[in-house]
């Protein structure tokens, strides 16, 4: 039997694609907003499509932020995808309006500064040494579609400076071309918490491998 994964159904994700892609790599997937189920699963996936503020409000409405917080406190894996990653930062600014995020990581999600926005399509990433998520697909392209991203990542935020913890592994990508674009956070691996700005569930075989890497590390 595969790892039990809950895809959090809070009204803001392409939940069907996420569910299907996780099933493809052998996970036993339940799509639900039920807190007990989300708490109990081997892995929790938080998808997200749309606006930062709306997603965060949707997450709070099902008390998903509490579930995520409790899971992380217990060292239980959570994977955020796209806006599901963005809301893990301190805040997001869209159309001049600031919305509070979960604050797991320091930094603000802001509009990309590139000649063509949304940043849409298959782009390469700069995966760091020691990555588990990108194992075997370090040199592949992944499917991005977004207008906002975290453009900085502050290491040593809060208790993460504690030497007992490994520092977060950050994967970068670029919207636009060198000199005419923005470097942004494409993925983070931070103990039980992982997240991707791109859509692994829509990234063909490379995305499937990444999800498989994550599922393999569960339970």
């Amino acid at each position: 039997m595969g790892a039990r994964v809950v895809v959090l159904d809070y009204g803001f994700g392409n939940v069907r694609s996420a569910t299907r892609a996780l099933e493809r790599v052998g996970a036993e997937v339940t799509l639900t907003a039920d807190r007990a189920a989300a708490q109990d699963a081997d892995g929790l996936v938080v998808p997200g499509v749309g606006a930062f503020a709306a997603c965060m409000a949707g997450l709070r409405a099902v008390r998903g932020h509490e579930v995520i917080g409790r899971r992380l406190a217990g060292g239980r894996p959570v994977l955020g995808i796209c806006v599901g990653m963005q809301i893990l930062f301190d805040a997001g600014v869209e159309h001049g309006e600031r919305a509070e995020g979960m604050g797991e990581w320091a930094g603000t999600v802001e509009r990309l500064d590139a000649p063509v926005v949304p940043h849409m399509g298959w782009a390469p990433v700069e995966a760091p040494a020691g990555t588990r998520l990108f194992d075997g697909v370090e040199d592949e392209r992944f499917y991005f579609v977004h207008s906002y991203a975290a453009r900085t990542f502050a290491q040593g935020h809060d208790d993460k400076a504690d030497p007992r913890f490994s520092p977060p592994l950050v994967t970068w990508a670029r919207a636009g071309t060198p000199g005419h674009g923005t470097r942004f956070v494409a993925a983070v691996e931070d103990g039980p918490l992982a997240a991707t700005q791109f859509h692994p569930e829509k990234s063909g075989d490379a995305g499937a491998r990444l999800l498989e890497n994550w599922v393999r590390g569960l339970g």
Partner: protein, 264 residues
């Protein structure tokens, strides 16, 4: 290294079947959109587009089921256009497994539809499809409606047969401002000619619009795709050259790679 130029096959779907000729070997059923989508995915398509040309609501229901079955086995982005008139239509397609929707005529009739869809689901789900043709006699000649068209391109409906009097470049610009995440620019003059994309039109729209631009209409040979990308297209869409096996996605990508373009 940056984002790759996307190559997108487009399938016309009528009541659950692919229409327009499809002439593939090794397909059990050349008219099954799910099977064709999987085939294009395996050949390296970066995205897939279904254009629902069903005349009846029952036909469109069937398309929803096709989208659902495609999303079960295809793991690249899927856009569905045709017959999208309301936010609820978008919701239905996204729930079935589409990643984006294409909107055309309904937005011409009611531009607020663009902001309604973008407001609810985000700009990234909305591809505004523009069927444009050159105005006979060039800019400001007036076309069918006598309207003033500064760019020389007019938005049309009904497969290019009916003019709207709307300037195509201004419409693309307005749609992007209203929240369209991408513009699918289809040249009605080049469509079906296999004589190449309308590069001048692409450049003119590129100059004014900063959302991703998809070139459509006129693809005939691999070099045409390179030219479209060099004219500023972020993605290139074609139907018949792929369906009839005139070109494979691999051939197109080889040509693009040879020209120094980034591809997946």
């Amino acid at each position: 290294m940056s984002v790759a130029i996307r190559v997108i096959p487009c399938l016309d779907v009528d009541a659950g079947r692919v229409v327009k000729g499809v002439n593939f070997q090794n397909l059990r059923d050349a008219g099954d959109p799910v099977e064709l989508a999987a085939r294009y995915d395996a050949e390296g398509a970066d995205e897939l587009t279904f254009l629902d040309v069903s005349a009846s609501s029952a036909g469109r229901e069937t398309t929803v089921d096709v989208v659902r079955r495609t999303a079960e086995q295809v793991f690249v982005p899927l856009t569905v256009g045709g017959g999208i008139r309301t936010v609820d239509d978008v919701d239905r397609m996204l729930r079935a497994g589409a990643d984006k929707v294409g909107v055309n005529t309904a937005a011409i009739a009611r531009p607020e539809l663009i902001s309604e869809i973008a407001g609810r689901f985000g700009s990234q789900v909305l591809v505004l499809s523009v069927d444009a043709r050159r105005v006979p006699g060039g800019a400001t000649a007036g076309a069918t409606t006598g309207a003033d068209l500064p760019s020389g391109y007019e938005v049309t409906t009904h497969g290019g047969r009916r003019g709207t009097g709307i300037d195509a470049v201004e419409w693309a610009e307005k749609a992007a401002a209203l929240g369209a995440g991408e513009i699918l620019l289809n040249s009605m003059d080049a469509d079906g000619t296999a004589g190449g994309f309308d590069l001048e039109m692409l450049r003119d729209v590129r100059e004014r619009v900063s959302v991703p631009l998809i070139a459509s209409g006129g693809a005939g040979k691999p070099a045409d795709f390179v030219a479209a990308a060099q004219a500023g297209a972020d993605a290139v869409l074609a139907a018949s050259v792929f369906h009839f096996g005139t070109l494979t996605i691999g051939q197109v990508k080889d040509e693009m790679r040879g020209a120094g373009l980034e591809i997946r």
